[in-house]
C-alpha cells in the first residue's frame, strides 16, 4: 500500500464547478493511490456525482486541476478519460439497448482481424472470458435490451475490467445488486487494486464502504470535509460529518392522534414489479415506505396516483374508489404526489417558477375557462412565499434554482391543490441540510393539521424520525409493518433485505 508521501496515481486539486448560480463543487481536493480503494461519501447532492463527471471528462472544472502521476491531466471529453485509463461504472448503466452485450463491452475497442474488420469470434471469446472471471453466465450475443439492472451493471463491470483500468470509479454501483453480485464486484475491485490500480468507490452503504476501502473522503454541500484512513473512523463519525450535526436533532415529528382512514390501498399488483400491497393511512398520520432501492416502493406510489397501470387491486380515497390509470382523477380525489425524480418528473425545468407552481391547478385559477396572468402570478407568489422559496424573478426558469428551492416549488405546486393525502417520494433527496430540516418540519406540521402523509424514503434516519408507521418492502412485497415503537435500524433493515419472512 502506498504511503501518504508517495506521488498519488490520481489527484483532485482544489476543483470547483458551478451550474448557473449553484456551486455543485467548491474547492475539493483528495488523492487516489495505486493499490488502494478510496471511498467518497456524502449525502445526495453533496457533489459526488459532479466529481465523477469531472473524472469522466463530461464536466470540466471551472478552476482547480486533476493530476495523474503528478502531471496535470486535461479531461476534455470522455475519450480523454478513457485514454488516460479511467473507467467509470455509473449508477445508471449506460448501455446501447440495440447492440449485443459483447459489442457493449468492446464498443470502440473491438478486436480487429484482417482488413481492420471486427473479429466477432474473438470479441465473443473475450467477452466470455470476462464473464468467466466475473463468474456469471451472460450470452455475449444477446442484445442489451431486456437485461435486468443488475445484469446491465455486470456488463458495465466487464467493460471496466476489459480496459485494464488504472483508475476505476464506481458511482453507487451496488444499489441494484444482490449480496452475491456485490461480493463478485468487490473481488474484481480488489484484484484491480492488487494489480496496482486505484479505485474510487461511492456508496451509501457503510458496511460496503468500510469493508472495501482503505480511506474515506467525506463531502458536504459541495465542499470537502475530511479524508482519513478507514481504520481511524467509525460509522457514527462519518455520518455526523456528512450531515454536519447530530442526527437525532433533525427529525421533529409532532405527536398526533390519527383520525379516520383517508387512503385505503387493497391488493395492489403489477406483475413483475410489486404484488398484493395492502395498507391504509389515517388523517394526521405519516406512513413511511421503507426498503432498498428497487424494492418497488416508487412504483407502488406511482400506481396509486394513476401514473402506471395496475394489474390488480383497488385504491380508495375517503371510501370512494379511484378509477385506475388517471392522475387527474387522483388529484380530484385529493391525492398529491411529489415524485422521486425532481428534474424529470417533478418540474418542467425549462418553464418559469410561476408556470411550474401553478401547473397543478390551472383549471381552478381560470375564470370562464380563461387564465389571466395576474391570478396565476398572485397564486404563484403566495405559495412560493409560504414555502420560503428563494428566487430572483417568478419568470426565471425553475432550473436556475438550487435543489432545495426546486423541491420547495414542487411542494408548493402540490400543497396549493390542498390535498387530503400527500405522497412524497424521497422528499429530501439532493437538497441541502437546512432545507431538509424545513421540509421535515413542514411535513410534520401538515400531518398535525390532519393531512395524511405517505413518505417513500431510502434514508433510514428520516424514516425512523418522521414516521408513525413503517411499511417495509422487499422485492415488490410488503414484508413488515412496524409501529413507531417497533421500528429501529435493525428491524427495518431485516425486513428490507428479506431476512424476515413473516410480516410483523
Amino acid at each position: 500500500m502506498a504511503g501518504d508521501d508517495a506521488v498519488p496515481l490520481l489527484a483532485v486539486r482544489d476543483v470547483t464547478k458551478s451550474f448557473g448560480a449553484v456551486a455543485a463543487v467548491a474547492g475539493v481536493s483528495f488523492a487516489l493511490h495505486g493499490g488502494e480503494a478510496h471511498a467518497l461519501v456524502g449525502e445526495n447532492g453533496a457533489g459526488k456525482s459532479t466529481i465523477v463527471k469531472m473524472l469522466a471528462g463530461v464536466h470540466r472544472p471551472d478552476s482547480g486541476a486533476i493530476e495523474m502521476d503528478g502531471a496535470p491531466l486535461v479531461l476534455g471529453s470522455p475519450a480523454d478519460a478513457r485514454a488516460a485509463g479511467i473507467a467509470i461504472i455509473y449508477q445508471e448503466p449506460t448501455l446501447f439497448p440495440d447492440l449485443s452485450v459483447a459489442e457493449n463491452i468492446f464498443m470502440g475497442r473491438q478486436p480487429l482481424g484482417r482488413l481492420r474488420r471486427i473479429d466477432k469470434a474473438a470479441m465473443k471469446a473475450e467477452a466470455e472470458e470476462l464473464f468467466g472471471r466475473l463468474g456469471v453466465h451472460l450470452d455475449p450475443d444477446r442484445p442489451a435490451r431486456g437485461l435486468s439492472i443488475a445484469d446491465q451493471q455486470l456488463v458495465e463491470i466487464a467493460k471496466a475490467l476489459s480496459v485494464d483500468a488504472r483508475v476505476l470509479v464506481m458511482d453507487e454501483p451496488t444499489a441494484a445488486l444482490s449480496g452475491v453480485e456485490v461480493e463478485r464486484l468487490f473481488a474484481v475491485a480488489r484484484t484491480l487494486c492488487a494489480q496496482g490500480a486505484a479505485v474510487l468507490f461511492i456508496s451509501h452503504r457503510f458496511d460496503e464502504v468500510f469493508s472495501l476501502c482503505e480511506r474515506i473522503t467525506v463531502m458536504r454541500d459541495g465542499r470537502w470535509v475530511s479524508t482519513d484512513p478507514t481504520a481511524d473512523l467509525t460509522v457514527d463519525q462519518v455520518v455526523r460529518r456528512m450531515v454536519g450535526r447530530d442526527v437525532s436533532a433533525l427529525f421533529p415529528k409532532e405527536e398526533v392522534e390519527p383520525g379516520e382512514v383517508v387512503l385505503d390501498v387493497r391488493g395492489l399488483t403489477r406483475h413483475g414489479v410489486f404484488s398484493d400491497v395492502t395498507f391504509s393511512v389515517r388523517r394526521g398520520e405519516i406512513v413511511a415506505l421503507a426498503g432498498l432501492v428497487g424494492a418497488g416502493r416508487s412504483e407502488v406510489v406511482r400506481a396509486i396516483f394513476g401514473i402506471d397501470r395496475l394489474d390488480e387491486g383497488e385504491v380508495h380515497v375517503d371510501g370512494e374508489r379511484l378509477p385506475a390509470g388517471s392522475p387527474a382523477a387522483a388529484m380530484n380525489a385529493g391525492l398529491a404526489l411529489v415524485p422521486e425524480d425532481r428534474r424529470q418528473q417533478g418540474l418542467v425545468m425549462e418553464l418559469s417558477i410561476e408556470r411550474n407552481a401553478t401547473l397543478t391547478r390551472l383549471g381552478a385559477l381560470a375564470r370562464v375557462g380563461l387564465l389571466s396572468g395576474r391570478a396565476e402570478r398572485r397564486a404563484a407568489r403566495e405559495w412560493t412565499k409560504r414555502l420560503q422559496v428563494k428566487y430572483g424573478l417568478l419568470a426565471d426558469a425553475v432550473g436556475t434554482l438550487s435543489g432545495g428551492n426546486q423541491q420547495k416549488v414542487v411542494l408548493a405546486k402540490w400543497l396549493a391543490t390542498e390535498p387530503k393525502v400527500l405522497i412524497v417520494d424521497e422528499p429530501t433527496r439532493g437538497i441541502d441540510v437546512g432545507t431538509k430540516a424545513e421540509v421535515h418540519r413542514l411535513m410534520s406540521r401538515l400531518a398535525g393539521q390532519g393531512m395524511a402523509v405517505v413518505m417513500v424514503s431510502s434514508e433510514l434516519p428520516e424514516v425512523l424520525g418522521m414516521a408513525d408507521r413503517v411499511l417495509v418492502m422487499h422485492e415488490g412485497r410488503v414484508t413488515a409493518e412496524l409501529s413507531r415503537a417497533e421500528a429501529n435500524e435493525e428491524t427495518v433493515m431485516f425486513a428490507a433485505t428479506g431476512q424476515n419472512g413473516t410480516a410483523a
Binding site: 471551472d62 387527474a328 414555502l387
Partner: protein, 348 residues
C-alpha cells in the same frame, strides 16, 4: 388569508421590485425570437414597398393575402402540435385528398353546402387516424405522418386520378377571392383571422394551452402534474386534419379546380413558417403571434421576389435558407452564450 396557520410565514407576499421587473420585461422582449421576426417582417414589407414596383398596390396585397391563407390556416394547429413536441407532415396530403373528394362529390351532384361540411369532417377523420397511431399505439408522429403523407396523397389520386374538376359554380369561386368592401383584404383572410384568434386564446389563455407547453418540454413531468398528454395530442391531430380539410375547400374554390395534387409540398412551407416564427422543433416554446409573423414574412418575401422577376422555383432557395437560419441561429447563439459564460466564469 385562509391558511395562515398552516405554514411558517403568514404575512402577505411582497411584490417584486417594479423597476427590476420592467427592465427584465424589456430585455425579455428583445431576446425573444418572435419580436425579431416581427421586426424583420416590417423591414421586408417597408423595403419591398419602397423598392419593388407594384408590391404595395391593392391588387398585389389581395393576391399576397389569398396566397398565404391556406398556409396560415394549417399553421395554426401545426403550431400547437409542434409545441407539444410532435409534428404533422400529412397536412398537405389531407388538403389534397379533401380537394379530390370535394371534386368527386360535386361530380356526383351533391349540394356544395353539404360537400363543404363533409369534406371538413373527412379532414377530421384523417386527423383521427394520425391521432390514433400516435397516441393509442405510441408511434413517433414523424414516422406516422410521413406514412399518411404518402397514403393520403395516394388516395387522392385513387379518388380523382390525374383529372381536374373545375366546373364549380361561379358565385362560390368568386366568393373565395372577393374582398371586404372596397379594401384589398379578401374575406377568406377574415376566416383565418377568426380562427387565429381562437387558436391564440386556446394556446395562450387556457389551461389546455398551458399544458401543451408543459408536455412539450417534459411529457413525463406533465403527466405527473395530472395533464392528459395523449388526449391533448389526439385532439390536436384531429384539429389539424379538420383545418387542413377546410384549407382544402378554400384551395379548391380559390383556384376553381379540384385536383389530386393540390397543395403538394405545402407541408414544407407550413413547417418552415412555424419554425421561422420561433416555435422550437424540440417542443415547449413558441407563440402564435410569432408564427403568423413567420407566415407573413415568408409570403411577402416570396411575393416581392416574384415581382422582382425571380422565378418561382428559385424562391425555394429562400424558403429553405430561412428555415435553416431560423433553427441554426438560435442554437449557435445559445451555444456561444454558454461558452462565453463558461469563459467568464473561469476567469472570474
Amino acid at each position: 388569508m385562509a391558511h395562515d396557520t398552516l405554514y411558517a410565514h403568514p404575512e402577505a407576499p411582497a411584490p417584486e421590485p417594479g423597476a427590476r421587473r420592467a427592465g427584465a420585461l424589456w430585455r425579455a422582449l428583445f431576446t425573444r425570437w418572435d419580436t425579431w421576426v416581427v421586426i424583420v417582417l416590417a423591414v421586408v414589407v417597408v423595403g419591398a414597398g419602397a423598392s419593388v414596383d407594384g408590391f404595395a398596390g391593392p391588387r398585389n396585397t389581395q393576391f399576397l393575402l389569398m396566397d398565404i391563407v391556406a398556409i396560415a390556416l394549417i399553421a395554426l394547429p401545426m403550431t400547437l402540435i409542434v409545441i407539444t413536441g410532435e409534428i404533422d407532415l400529412s397536412v398537405a396530403s389531407t388538403l389534397g385528398l379533401c380537394s379530390a373528394v370535394m371534386g368527386q362529390l360535386w361530380v356526383a351532384g351533391l349540394p356544395l353546402e353539404l360537400i363543404v361540411v363533409l369534406v371538413v369532417v373527412l379532414g377530421a377523420v384523417l386527423g383521427v387516424v394520425n391521432g390514433v397511431f400516435v397516441t393509442k399505439f405510441g408511434l413517433p408522429s414523424l414516422a406516422v405522418t410521413i406514412g399518411t403523407l404518402a397514403a393520403y396523397r395516394g388516395l387522392s389520386f385513387v379518388v380523382l386520378g390525374d383529372q381536374a374538376v373545375a366546373d364549380f359554380p361561379r358565385q362560390w369561386t368568386d366568393a373565395a377571392s372577393s374582398t371586404i368592401g372596397g379594401s384589398p383584404v379578401p374575406w377568406s383572410v377574415l376566416i383565418a383571422v377568426v380562427l387565429a384568434v381562437a387558436f391564440a386564446v386556446v394556446l395562450h389563455w387556457t389551461p389546455f394551452g398551458r399544458s401543451l407547453y408543459a408536455m412539450g418540454n417534459n411529457a413525463e413531468a406533465a403527466t405527473f402534474a395530472g395533464v392528459s398528454v395523449n388526449r391533448a395530442k389526439f385532439w390536436l391531430f384531429v384539429a389539424s386534419g379538420a383545418v387542413a380539410g377546410l384549407a382544402g375547400v378554400y384551395w379548391t374554390l380559390r383556384y376553381a379546380s379540384a385536383r389530386a395534387d393540390n397543395g403538394s409540398g405545402l407541408e414544407l412551407a407550413v413547417v418552415a413558417a412555424v419554425l421561422l416564427g420561433g416555435v422550437s422543433i424540440f417542443g415547449g416554446r413558441g407563440t402564435l403571434l410569432g408564427v403568423l409573423a413567420g407566415v407573413l414574412l415568408l409570403g411577402s418575401l416570396r411575393n416581392a421576389l416574384q415581382l422582382a422577376d425571380v422565378p418561382a422555383d428559385t424562391l425555394n432557395v429562400v424558403t429553405g435558407a430561412l428555415l435553416i437560419t431560423s433553427v441554426v441561429v438560435p442554437n449557435v447563439v445559445g451555444m456561444a452564450r454558454s461558452w462565453l459564460r463558461q469563459r467568464r466564469h473561469q476567469r472570474g
